[in-house]
């Protein structure tokens, strides 16, 4: 039993109960709405950032009326015969542009000194949808940097309040001691009495954070992410909740940081424990599997391990192909 839904004119058959966003991800490509707060591995996440708003132009086969407002695609389940417009609806494009501008008005735009730059969801979102300048002419929200524990730093000024780290603490760690304080644009992620977030899985808040609000203190200011080389590795982790599959980020011979493996939507494949993340920083701790392909949205993918496709001119010219043979073989061997 599957339901049929059409997104931007492309039909797809999905399981009943699938959200519009996940149906769009099954199609893939440009028509996937961006998501800043939804995280498929975290239950109840989503619905807050409103970047994934889409227009439902036909509710279902039974009730073909369109939905009166734009809906959050990450929290709206598909109905049989539903027709959804994402990038084909000017209304959606306009609304999303507004959301991007609104998300950025209180963001410090300190990308040049932010460790997240290069793998930041907000940076990608702004690049794809935002205007190059802002109409906001007032002081931005500022907070003091807070060290939560000895491994994680919270820089609330950059936060977009996606609640992902709250869900991680609720669902992945054994207890949550941080949350949202205050309300409106005074809201902040905080541990209230600056208690250290310290348990075996707390480091995952760094991976789920879409911006640079939660950063890895063992990696801060070590290097720009696009100068590091991602490598897949694993180790035999004795923590029952962790399978030890990670991405190592090398600079030369040094492992600068360890993260979970992230998929094309920037979501981790499996959460990892803090020992793997923070304490195992030498090649000897790991079994190297090979280079890690990084999602197409990241600047990192523009760099190292992408299979070198021969230029069109090379393909058509036998002589050039012969001349570059050795180089292609070397590049594609990895």
């Amino acid at each position: 039993m599957s339901v049929k839904v059409t997104i931007d004119g492309i039909p797809v058959e999905v399981e009943p109960g699938t959200t519009i966003l996940n149906a769009a991800r099954q199609i893939g490509g440009d028509i996937v709405p961006p998501a800043m707060c939804y995280y498929s591995k975290l239950k109840d996440s989503g619905g807050k950032c409103r970047t994934c708003l889409v227009k439902v132009s036909k509710g279902s086969e039974k009730d073909p009326r369109p939905m009166p407002k734009l809906v959050a695609s990450c929290r709206t389940t598909v109905m049989d015969g539903m027709e959804v417009q994402n990038i084909t609806s000017p209304e959606v494009v306009e609304a999303r542009k507004g959301i991007v501008e609104i998300l950025l008005i209180n963001h410090p735009l300190d990308c040049p000194i932010c460790d997240q730059a290069g793998e930041c969801d907000l940076q990608n979102l702004a690049f794809d949808h935002g205007a190059a300048k802002t109409r906001y002419e007032f002081d931005r929200r500022k907070f003091e940097k807070i060290d939560i524990g000895d491994k994680i730093q919270l820089h609330m000024t950059r936060c977009i309040l996606c609640y992902r780290c709250v869900f991680v603490a609720d669902q992945i760690t054994d207890h949550r001691i941080h949350g949202i304080l205050n309300r409106g644009d005074h809201s902040e992620i905080s541990t209230y009495i600056k208690a250290a977030v310290d348990n075996d899985f707390s480091g995952n808040v760094i991976d789920v954070c879409p911006v640079g609000a939660l950063t890895d203190k063992t990696f801060r200011f070590k290097n720009r992410v696009w100068f590091t080389k991602p490598v897949e590795a694993h180790r035999d982790c004795d923590h029952p909740g962790c399978n030890g599959k990670v991405t190592l980020w090398y600079k030369g011979e040094d492992v600068l940081r360890v993260t979970a493996r992230k998929d094309v939507y920037g979501e981790v494949e499996e959460f990892i424990c803090n020992t793997c993340r923070f304490d195992k920083k030498s090649t000897g701790d790991w079994v190297i599997e090979g280079p890690r392909k990084v999602s197409n949205q990241s600047v990192i993918s523009a760099n190292h391990y992408e299979t070198l496709h021969p230029l069109p001119v090379v393909k058509t010219n036998i002589l050039l192909q012969e001349a570059n043979k050795e180089q292609f073989e070397r590049e594609t061997r990895l």
């Binding site: 807050k48 409103r50 609104i102 949202i180």
Partner: protein, 452 residues
């Protein structure tokens, strides 16, 4: 001069006690409902009465009740929304203070109709005196056998609880209210599922305004058809209006829906005109979140017909030239009031009360507040008006709950109708800080387009 259904005995001394309330015919609706009617009969009566939600949205109450899911073996809840915090609205507080037993009687009848055995009254946290009044009234009613186990020997059990609110405007949004009632942070839930399917503790729940629940009492006493005879069109019955601002006699008035607004504003029975012999400049008809209207558009619709106090007539003209009934918070502005300052004040409220869960409302309300503050204090720019309209459009309809809309409408409507006053704040900035724009043309007779 209409009949009072809710406030008939409001001036009887001691009406806040059980005995006096009972001697004036109180709790007759409970007796009638529990002993002679089935729950479905009551829902049917309320449907027939055409009662519409008095909290702001105006959704038909009977229909809301009939949407309630009734799975076997799952508790159902009735929650009374007494988290009245809309600037300009104070009718529920009045009702709870002076005639608490009316609400309790309504709660018993409504709970019976919905099959709820535990019902909650979520009272705004700042209203501590009203919480005490309600708790006392509940204790009295329980003592007389109208609450608790086996009410009046009919076998129906009902416990009624009063819950002090979390201290936020957003907790008046029905799903945020349920979150708060469950002891969590008062963030609105993402719908669907609607509370009628999964509400309080995941069980089917109906959330109704204080006045809607109180109105069930006269509906049961006199029958839905009798109730529906009052009012005009789909606006049936009576409505409490909390009149405030620059009127001669501010206060809570019970009106028949369909009363001309001119009568309400100028007759001695109600507001008694504008205080100090001044002229009317603008009106916010239903609490701070509804669009503001200039005097001429408020008294007459765009087709030059007199406007009535009813859901339809107030909304006549849509967002272009109409407003909404809202929760009945009627605020009149005289010629010396500054619309820019008022708009800034409202926006400041929404900025302060935004829960911060979804981004358009969290960031957008603050942005609008800052721009309006700049305009009011003489640092505005001509482009600010278009900016405000654009930001309000980006918020409206894109948020999880209606607070975003409520924050956007006053700004958009103020700029639509009072644009020259905003522009004057930019061109005559120094003067605008000292004085104000005055009445200008806002009360001039409407220019009616000739139809060919």
């Amino acid at each position: 001069m209409g009949r009072k259904l809710l406030l008939e005995h409001i001036n009887v001394p001691g009406i806040n006690t059980f005995d006096v309330y009972r001697s004036k015919g109180g709790y007759a609706a409970v007796e009638k409902a529990l002993k002679t009617l089935t729950p479905d009969d009551i829902v049917e009566e309320v449907k027939k009465s055409g009662l519409r939600g008095r909290g702001g949205a105006g959704f038909p109450t009977g229909m809301k009740w009939s949407f309630l899911a009734k799975p076997e073996g799952v508790a159902r809840y009735l929650v009374c929304n007494a988290d009245e915090s809309e600037p300009g609205t104070f009718k529920d507080r009045y009702l709870m203070t002076y005639i608490p037993h009316l609400l309790i009687e309504g709660m018993i009848v409504s709970s019976f109709a919905l099959g709820a055995n535990a019902s909650y009254i979520y009272v705004r946290g700042e209203m501590m005196p009203q919480i005490r009044i309600l708790e006392k009234a509940i204790a009295e009613a329980k003592n007389k056998g109208f609450l608790g186990k086996n009410i009046l020997g009919t076998g129906y059990d009902l416990e009624l609880y009063v819950q002090p609110g979390g201290g936020a405007y957003i907790c008046g949004e029905e799903t945020a209210l349920l979150e708060s009632l469950e002891g969590k942070r008062g963030n609105p839930r993402i719908k669907p599922p609607f509370p009628a399917i999964a509400g309080l503790y995941g069980c089917p729940t109906v959330v109704n305004n204080v006045e809607s629940i109180a109105a069930v009492v006269p509906i049961i006493n006199e029958g839905g058809d009798e109730y529906a005879k009052i009012g005009v069109g789909r606006s049936t019955g009576t409505k409490l209006i909390s009149a405030g601002g620059n009127v001669k006699k501010p206060g809570v008035y019970e009106i028949d829906l369909g009363l001309p607004v001119e009568d309400f504003l100028y007759s001695d029975e109600y507001c008694g005109g504008i205080a100090g012999g001044k002229r009317l400049k603008a009106v916010v008809a239903g609490g701070s979140s509804v669009p503001i209207l200039p005097a001429n558009l408020f008294l007459k619709t765009i087709n030059n017909e007199p406007r009535l106090m009813s859901y339809e007539s107030l909304a006549d003209g849509g967002f272009v030239s109409g407003t909404m009934m809202g929760s009945g918070g009627f605020i009149a502005f005289d010629e010396d009031q500054c619309i820019v300052r008022n708009t800034w004040n409202f926006t400041r409220f929404y900025h302060h009360e935004s829960c911060g869960q979804c981004s358009p409302c969290r960031e957008g309300t603050g942005w609008m507040e800052k721009v309006l503050h700049r305009l009011e204090y003489g640092h505005g720019k001509m482009s600010d008006m278009d900016l405000l309209v654009d930001v309000s459009k980006k918020i409206e309809g894109n948020t999880i709950c209606p607070l975003g809309d409520a924050a956007a409408w006053p700004v958009a409507s103020a700029i639509r109708h009072f644009r020259d006053e905003f522009e004057w704040h930019v061109t005559n900035a120094a003067e605008a800080v000292r004085g104000n724009y005055g009445l200008a043309h806002y009360a001039d007779p409407l220019h009616v387009k000739e139809t060919a």
